[in-house]
Amino acid sequence: MALTRQQMAVRAARELKDGFCVNLGIGIPTLVANYIPPEVTVTLQSENGLLGMGPFPRASEVDADLINAGKETVTFVPGAATFSSADSFAMIRGGHIDLAILGAMQVSERGDLANWMIPGKRAKGMGGAMDLVSGVRRVIVLMEHNTPDRAAKLLRECTLPLTGAGVVHRVITDLCVLDVTPLGFEVIELADGVTRKEIEERTGASVRFTDVAA
């Protein structure tokens, strides 16, 4: 059985280690904040200039001056800090953020990431994604294994314009968890009921399986 979006977020939340500073992208990655294990304390960074982002506000607490990078109204947690965009990306570019979890259109077996542009169709801009993937210490992609029309998103080579080259460390999909290794994709976990054959059929690159995968 493929994982639901919530189950994918739960799995991704297990990547958060106590004390981490983490940047969560828009979409499924945003949901990860709802499933942080109680024994783990992480600080959420939002690249528009906030360290220590809290949950959405109650209706009475909404403040137009306090938003996240998705332009949604948010709150502070105690000990939060705000800063300029240049300072925000200095901490990103400077390697001070431990982990970024973000969505993708395509990931290659070398860890190339494409998530910002479809030539001739969609060109809204890369936002902070290029800075994040090249600056944050560890980059995890959280996405559906295939496109809605069942095309592969994990590929030998990305066909879409890149966001970063050789930047992805791990991919969590609705079917499995894969690491990007010098030998290509290595599946380290399979979702319940998902077979190796299914992964091979639905992946556009060769995959290896570790012993832990059924």
Partner: protein, 234 residues
């Protein structure tokens, strides 16, 4: 007096300083922390063929979206423009030029430009379309990209509090690009919700020292439109 930078209104603040073809740096992230009154006044100058460095391009009918509708913008330098339908239409129709610039690179280009640094090296964009035509250099076995600082003819920013010397304090995430844009303008105009006498702001709490700010406008009641209202129960 020499250090009193307060103008009667936004229109007066832009009087005589905006010309066709200028490069402007404008603060704000989405609609958060945009200089609302100054953007309206910029539209009313009627200046055309403007190049605007700003993280976003507003939305239809508000913020920088107003300048797109009046066809005053020749080129945007932005990281993300996805909230604006008129933008997309003009861009796809070839009426508007866009330089997509990664968000952190854009902020640093403003900061560098204001700090007298003509260019800097960054890993951001290596191996992507952003790297095309730009010089690359290796440091310690890693390849970096040369990006240029931005020096704008005019910068427009939004602060929460200001004193008459132009010292600025921003509020929450409405700070964003404003301090960076403020430094890179040859002439910087700031709009503030509160304006006080010199001495009333704690010098330790100033975000942008007044040396960067040349003109000041009081806008006590900005609309502060919210793009995505998200709340929880309780």
């Amino acid at each position: 007096m020499g250090l009193d930078k307060l103008q009667p209104d936004a229109r007066a603040a832009l009087d005589g300083i905006i010309q066709d073809g200028m490069l402007l740096a404008i603060g704000g992230f989405g609609l958060c922390g945009i200089p609302e009154a100054l953007i309206l006044a910029l539209r009313d100058t009627g200046a055309r063929n403007l190049t605007i460095a700003s993280n976003n391009a507003g939305v239809d009918g508000w913020g920088l979206g107003l300048l797109l509708e009046s066809h005053q913008v020749k080129k945007m330098i932005s990281s993300y423009v996805g909230e604006n339908i008129e933008f997309e239409r003009q861009f796809l129709a070839g009426e508007l030029e866009v330089e997509f610039c990664p968000q952190g690179t854009l902020a640093e280009r403003m900061r560098a430009g204001g700090a007298g640094i003509p260019g800097f090296y960054t890993r951001t964009g290596i191996g992507t379309l952003v790297a095309e035509g730009k010089e690359q250099k290796e440091f310690g076995g890693i390849v970096y990209l040369l990006e240029r600082g931005i020096q704008a003819d005019v910068a427009l920013v939004k602060a929460w509090k200001a004193d008459l010397h132009g010292n600025l304090i921003y509020r929450r995430t409405a700070r964003n690009f404003n301090p960076d844009a403020a430094t890179c303008g040859k002439l910087t105009v700031a709009e503030a919700e509160m304006i006080v006498e010199p001495g009333e702001l704690d010098p330790d709490e100033i975000h942008t020292p007044g040396i960067y700010v040349h003109r000041l406008v009081h806008n006590p009641n900005p609309e502060k439109r919210i793009e995505k209202m998200t709340t929880r129960e309780g």
